[in-house]
Amino acid sequence: MSYQDEEEGGAFDGHASSFPKDFGYGAFDGEHDVNLSASGEQKPRILLMGLRRSGKSSIQKVVFHKMSPNETLFLESTNKIVKDDINNSSFVQFQIWDFPGQIDFFDSSFDSDMIFGGCGALVFVIDAQDDYMEALNKLNLTVTKAYKVNPNIKFEVFIHKVDGLGDDFKMESQRDIHQRATDDLADSGYDQIHLSFHLTSIYDHSIFEAFSKVVQKLIPQLPALENLLNILNTNSAIEKSFLFDVVSKIYIATDSTPVDMQSYELCCDMIDVVIDVSWIYGHVFSVKEEQDPAAFDEQSSSLIKLNNGTVLYLREVNKFLALVCILREDNFDHKGIIDYNFLCFREAIQQVFELRNKCQGNPLTNSAGSPIVNGNNIIGERHLSPTLTDEIGSK
C-alpha cells in the first residue's frame, strides 16, 4: 500500500506550507487548497462487498454522501462496480468500491489482482435480517480469494441492518455469524485470516463508528494521534476529544478513554450544526474560490454549552479535520490554556505528518507507524508537556 505519491509530493514542495497531499492534507493557512488528483491506485482503497440488497450502496451514500437513511430505500441496485473517490472533500482520501452483489470472482473479466492488490480494507456487508448462510459462503470465498492476492488486507464484516433486531437476537446472530465465519475459514485452512465484526445500522451512528474503526486501521499515524489527544486531554482537563473528518463525520482518532455512543452522537450533531450555520452566515465570498465556497474553513470554531454543565468545543484543525472536545463547564474557565494547547496540538499533528513525509524511504509498509510513535513522543514531550503542565499547575 502506498500513501505517498512522489510526483504530487514534488509538485507541492514549492508551496510555503506544503503537506503530503496524498492523504488529503490541505495547507493550514487555507490558501493552498488542494486539487488532489492522485491516481486511484495510490489511494488506500476500501472495498464494499456483500450479497445483493445487503445495503452496500446505502452505507456508502449515508456515510460519504450525506444521504438521509430513509432515502436509501429508493436506491437502485448496483449492477457494476462503482468507484467512488472520496476526494477533495474529506480527509479520508479513499476510494470506495461498491461491488454489485452478484459479481462472480471466477469470471475472466474479474481482475482480482487489480482489485485486491491496492486495497486497504475489505468491508463485507451481511444482511442480519436475512438468511445469512449464503452470505457466509460468499464471505469465505471473497476473503480467501482476496487474501491470496493481498495478505495485508484488513477484513471487516458489517453485520448490517441490526436496527430491526431485538437485543437478544442481535447478540445471537452476531455470535452465530462470528462462529460460523471463523470456523469456515479454519476449515479451509486460513486460520491466520482475521475478521473483525461490527454491528451496524444506517439509522443510528453505529455505521459511522464502524467505519471510523475501519478507517483508523488504515491510518498508520493512529497511535501518534491518539497519544496527542491523550496529552491534550490531560493538560486541558478535557473529558473526551475526537478528531473528526468533517464531511463523513467519522472520527480519525480519539483519546484512549472509552467512546460513549451519546457523546459521539452529540459531536456528530455538533458538526452538522456548525456546517449548517456556517452555510448560512459564515459564507465568505472570496475572489479566488468563488466557485467552491466552503462552509468549513480555518476560522471555523464553535462552542455549545449544554444544560448539564458540559461544554462542546469545536476547532478546525485543517481543511478536513475538526477537533471536537467535551469538557466540564468549570474546566472551560481556562479557555486561554485550552486554546493554547490546541495550537500546540495542531502544530504537533502537522509535525506528525511531516515526519511521515520524511520517512518516505519506505513508504510501502505499514510499519511506518512505529517510528512515528517514537517521534511523537519527542514532539509530545517537547512541545506540550513542559509548557502546559506549568500553566495548568499555576492555574
Binding site: 473483525s196 465484526f197 491518539e226 490531560t234 467512546v259 455512543m261 507507524g369 510513535v373
Partner: protein
C-alpha cells in the same frame, strides 16, 4: 466503619490495595500517591509525582499492587508505557522498570496472584504483554487480533489462565504458556466490553459493556450465560463482592455517579448504592471483608465506604406493579406484608395463578404476582357472545330457579361471569325454594341456609367489581378461601421458586421448619434484623391460620344481615376473609340459639331485594347490555311486579331494545319469542301489527287493498286471470317468476304435469326439469 474521603488534585483513574489492605495506591493523569488506610482517615505515605522529572509515565491509566511483594507497584500509562515502581527506593530509582513496548495506551495492568514478579498488561493496540519485572522486555506477547484490549484479569482458579476483553465485544481466554493462540473466544456483548472480573469462588466471569449490561458467564465445560444485569449506563468497572456469592459492584462510565452493588439474581434494581461521589466513579476495591470498600472517582476523591451507609434503592422502589398486555390480561405484582395474613387471604380469591417474584434479600419471598387472564371465552367478540347468549338462554317453560341456573351456566360459559352472578342472585332471591321457605314457619333454618350463599355471592360480586376483572367471582368454590388453599399456594411458590432459583431451594424448603439457613455466604450482620423480622413475620403468618377457626366478624356479619339487611354493596371489603370454611359451618352448629333470639322474623320474607336487582339491571342496561336486563325481566315473570320502582316505559324500552338487537342479528325466532313472552301491550302487539302484505296491481302498481284480484283504480281484474281457464283467480294465484304468468294453483299444477312451456304461449320455459 465510617465513610471518609480525601480529595486529590486531579481525577483518579484507578486504585489498588496492597495485600494486607492497609495501603492504597491511586493513579490518575495528575495523581500518583500511596495512602495508608487508618481507622477514619487516609494518611498519605508517598507521592510518586513529587519527582522533578515528570513525564507521561507518571500519569496512570491503571495501577496494580503486587500480591506477593508489598513494595512493588505497576502502572499503565496513556503513552503505552508500563512502569514498575519499587516503593522502598527513593527518587528516580523508584521507577524500576519502564517497558515501552505497547504502541498505544495501556488500559490495564495486573500482577499475577501467585507468581511473584509477573504482571500482564492490556493495551489499546490489541496486544497483551506478559512481563517479568526482573527482565527488560516482555516475556510473552499475546496478539488478540481485536481492536483494543480493555481489561485483562488472571483467573483466581487457574494460575495459567487469564481473560481479556476487548472493544469489539469479545472475550478471550488465554493460557500464559501459549502466546500463539487463545484457548477460547466468544462474542459476549454487542458493544465494547470495558471490564471483566473473575468470581473469587466459582467459575464465573462477569463482563461489563457499553451495551448497558453486566453479564455473568459460567466458564465450566460449556459456556453459558448465567445472569444479565441491565444498568442505566455503560459500565466501566466491576468487582465481585468478597464472601457474597451473588453480589457484584459496578461503576458507570457516564451519567450515573453512584456505585451500585447488584445481586445478580435481581437484575433491574441494585441491591445497594453508594452516592457519595459527585462525578462518575472510576474504580472499586474491596477490603477483604464485604462491608468496606474503597472507590476512586473522576471528582478527584478517594472514598472508603461502609455498607452501613448504603442506600437501598430496592426499598424505595414502588412495591406494586400493574401491567396490561394486548390480550387484556392484567399482571399485578405487589409486596405482601407478611404480618398481615388476612390481606393475603383476601387476595387469594381473585388469584388465578400466582408466582413469587425473584426474591432478594430485602423482601424475601414476600412479593406475589397475580396474573388475571380473561376466561377462555374472553377472546370472543361481543357480538359472538350476544349471539350465543341469545340462542342459549331459556326464558320460559321451566321453573324460575331452573331457568336462572341454566342461564347462569350459559353466561358463565360465554365468559360473562358478572351476568352469571346476576342470574344466581335472581335465583336466590326469587327462586321457588326461597319463596316457599319464606312462607314456612321454620324460619331460622331458612335464614341460615339462604343467607349464606347470598352473602357469598355478594362478596364475590364485590370483589369482581372492585378488581374490575373477570375473576371466578361468586361461584368460586368455598374451599378456595380455606386454609388448604393457603398451604397449596405455599407449595406452589416453592415449586416455582425451585425452578427459577435452584440455589435457593434449600432456603425455601427450610422455611416451614422455621429454619432459616441463608447459606454461609448470607449470614451477615445486616441481614440479622431482617431475618428475625421475617421469622416473626412467618410466625405471624402461620398463626393467623389457626385464628381463622373462629373469626369473630363472622357472627357480627350474620347479625347485621338479619337485623338491618344492609345492601351487599356496602360490605366492607375487610370482612371478606370470613368467607372460609369455618365461618360457614361452625356458627351454624354452635349458634342456632343466637339466631333464633335475635332475628326479626316477620321482616325476612319481605326483604326488599327489588332495589338491588333494579340497580343491577339498570347497571347492565347502562353498560349497553340490554340483553341481560330484558332476559331477567322476562324470566322473572310475575315476580317482576315486585320491582315496582321500575316504570313500564323503561321495561318497554329494554324489551324493544333487545328485540331490535335480535332482529339486527337476524334472530327472528328469538325476537318473536321475546315478543310473545312480553307482558307490555305495546310490545306484545308487535307481532300482530303490520302482518298484512298487499299485492300491487300489475298495471298501475296501486296496492290492492280491498281484494287481491280487483284494482280499485283500473277497475279491472284483467291481471288476475288464470292463464289456463281465463277466469279471475280469487284464491291462491300461482305464477311463474320468470314470465310472471300464472293462474289457479290446481290448473297450473295440471298444466306443468304435462308441459314445460308457459300456458300463455309466451314460450317461456317455466319448468326446467
Amino acid at each position: 466503619m465510617a465513610t471518609f474521603h480525601v480529595v486529590q488534585e486531579g481525577p483518579v483513574n484507578a486504585l489498588a490495595l496492597n495485600r494486607d489492605n492497609t495501603q492504597v495506591a491511586i493513579g490518575g493523569r495528575n495523581v500518583f500517591k500511596v495512602y495508608t488506610i487508618e481507622e477514619d482517615k487516609f494518611r498519605e505515605v508517598c507521592n510518586l509525582r513529587a519527582s522533578k522529572h515528570l513525564n507521561l509515565s507518571f500519569s496512570c491509566n491503571d495501577v496494580s499492587w503486587s500480591w506477593t511483594d508489598d513494595h512493588y507497584l505497576a502502572t499503565a500509562a496513556t503513552n503505552g508505557h508500563v512502569c514498575v515502581w519499587n516503593l522502598t527506593k527513593m527518587g528516580k530509582a523508584m521507577q524500576e522498570q519502564d517497558y515501552q513496548e505497547h504502541k498505544r495506551t495501556v488500559n490495564k495492568v495486573n500482577f499475577h496472584a501467585s507468581e511473584p514478579n509477573r504482571l500482564i498488561s492490556g493495551s489499546q493496540d490489541g496486544t497483551m504483554r506478559y512481563f517479568d519485572i526482573r527482565a527488560k522486555n516482555a516475556v510473552a506477547i499475546f496478539y488478540s487480533n481485536t481492536e483494543s484490549v480493555r481489561d485483562v484479569q488472571f483467573s483466581p482458579h487457574n494460575p495459567y489462565t487469564f481473560a481479556a476483553v476487548s472493544e469489539n465485544g469479545s472475550v478471550q481466554l488465554w493460557d500464559v504458556r501459549r502466546p500463539d493462540r487463545y484457548q477460547q473466544q466468544f462474542a459476549a456483548h454487542s458493544g465494547p466490553i470495558f471490564a471483566c472480573d473473575w468470581h473469587p469462588e466459582s467459575t464465573w466471569l462477569a463482563t461489563a459493556s457499553r451495551d448497558k449490561t453486566i453479564k455473568v458467564w459460567d466458564l465450566t465445560s460449556k459456556l453459558t450465560l448465567e445472569y444479565t444485569i441491565h444498568t442505566i449506563a455503560s459500565i466501566g468497572h466491576i468487582k465481585w463482592r468478597p464472601q457474597r456469592r451473588y453480589h457484584i459492584a459496578s461503576c458507570a462510565l457516564v451519567v450515573d455517579c453512584s456505585i451500585n452493588i447488584w445481586d445478580v439474581r435481581r437484575p433491574y434494581i441494585p441491591f445497594a448504592a453508594f452516592n457519595e461521589h459527585k462525578d462518575i466513579p472510576s474504580g472499586v476495591a474491596w477490603k477483604e471483608d464485604p462491608h468496606t470498600f474503597l472507590s476512586s472517582g473522576r471528582d478527584c476523591t478517594l472514598y472508603q465506604h461502609s455498607f452501613n451507609f448504603a442506600s437501598r434503592p430496592a426499598s424505595k422502589a414502588n412495591p406494586q406493579g400493574v401491567s396490561l398486555n394486548n390480550k387484556g390480561e392484567v399482571l399485578y405484582a405487589h409486596k405482601v406484608n407478611v404480618n398481615n395474613a388476612i390481606v393475603k387471604a383476601a387476595v387469594g380469591i381473585i388469584r388465578k395463578t400466582s408466582t413469587t417474584q425473584s426474591p432478594d434479600q430485602f423482601h424475601l419471598a414476600s412479593s406475589l404476582m397475580h396474573q388475571f387472564t380473561e376466561s377462555p371465552r374472553g377472546e370472543q367478540s361481543e357480538s359472538e357472545i350476544f349471539l350465543g347468549l341469545a340462542n342459549n338462554y331459556v326464558l320460559s317453560g321451566r321453573s324460575l330457579s331452573e331457568m336462572c341456573e341454566h342461564n347462569s351456566a350459559v353466561a358463565k360459559q360465554y365468559g360473562k361471569d358478572q351476568v352469571a352472578v346476576v342470574w344466581k342472585i335472581i335465583k336466590t332471591m326469587y327462586g321457588e325454594e326461597y319463596l316457599q321457605n319464606s312462607t314456612s314457619t321454620n324460619r331460622e333454618d331458612v335464614v341460615s341456609h339462604n343467607n349464606l350463599p347470598l352473602n357469598n355471592i355478594m362478596g364475590g360480586i364485590e370483589h369482581t367489581n372492585e378488581n374490575d376483572q373477570r375473576s371466578r367471582g361468586g361461584d368460586t368454590p368455598v374451599a378456595q378461601f380455606s386454609d388448604e388453599t393457603e398451604n397449596e399456594d405455599q407449595v406452589d411458590h416453592i415449586a416455582i421458586y425451585s425452578n427459577g432459583f435452584p440455589t435457593y431451594l434449600n432456603f425455601r424448603t427450610g422455611l416451614p421448619k422455621g429454619d432459616f439457613s441463608f447459606g454461609e455466604n448470607e449470614i451477615d450482620m445486616e441481614f440479622d434484623t431482617m431475618i428475625t423480622d421475617f421469622q416473626s413475620g412467618y410466625r405471624n403468618y402461620v398463626t393467623p391460620q389457626q385464628d381463622f377457626v373462629l373469626p369473630n366478624e363472622a357472627f357480627h356479619l350474620r347479625h347485621e344481615i338479619r337485623n338491618r339487611t344492609p345492601p351487599p354493596d356496602k360490605f366492607p371489603n375487610s370482612n371478606f376473609p370470613v368467607m372460609n370454611d369455618d365461618s360457614q359451618t361452625i356458627p351454624l352448629e354452635e349458634q342456632p340459639q343466637t339466631l333464633l333470639t335475635v332475628s326479626c322474623l316477620p321482616k325476612m320474607p319481605l326483604y326488599d331485594s327489588s332495589s338491588i336487582v333494579l340497580d343491577a339491571l339498570k347497571h347492565h342496561a347502562i353498560l349497553g347490555d340490554v340483553q341481560t336486563a330484558a332476559c331477567v325481566l322476562i324470566v322473572l315473570g310475575d315476580q317482576r311486579k315486585t320491582l315496582n320502582e321500575l316504570d313500564e316505559s323503561t321495561q318497554e324500552h329494554w324489551l324493544l331494545g333487545y328485540i331490535e338487537l335480535l332482529s339486527r342479528y337476524q334472530l327472528w325466532n328469538i325476537a318473536t319469542q321475546i315478543i310473545k313472552l312480553s307482558w307490555i301491550p305495546s310490545v306484545e302487539q308487535l307481532n300482530q301489527q303490520s302482518t298484512r302484505f298487499n299485492t300491487n296491481c300489475s298495471k298501475c302498481s296501486k296496492a290492492l287493498q280491498r281484494i287481491g284480484w280487483l284494482c280499485d283504480r283500473c277497475h279491472s281484474s284483467q291481471y288476475a286471470l288464470c292463464s289456463v281457464c281465463h277466469q279471475v283467480v280469487k284464491g291462491l294465484y300461482a305464477w311463474c317468476q320468470g314470465c310472471s304468468h300464472g293462474g289457479h294453483l290446481a290448473h297450473m299444477r295440471q298444466w306443468f304435469a304435462i308441459n314445460k312451456m308457459c300456458p300463455t304461449g309466451c314460450r317461456h320455459l317455466c319448468e326446467y326439469k
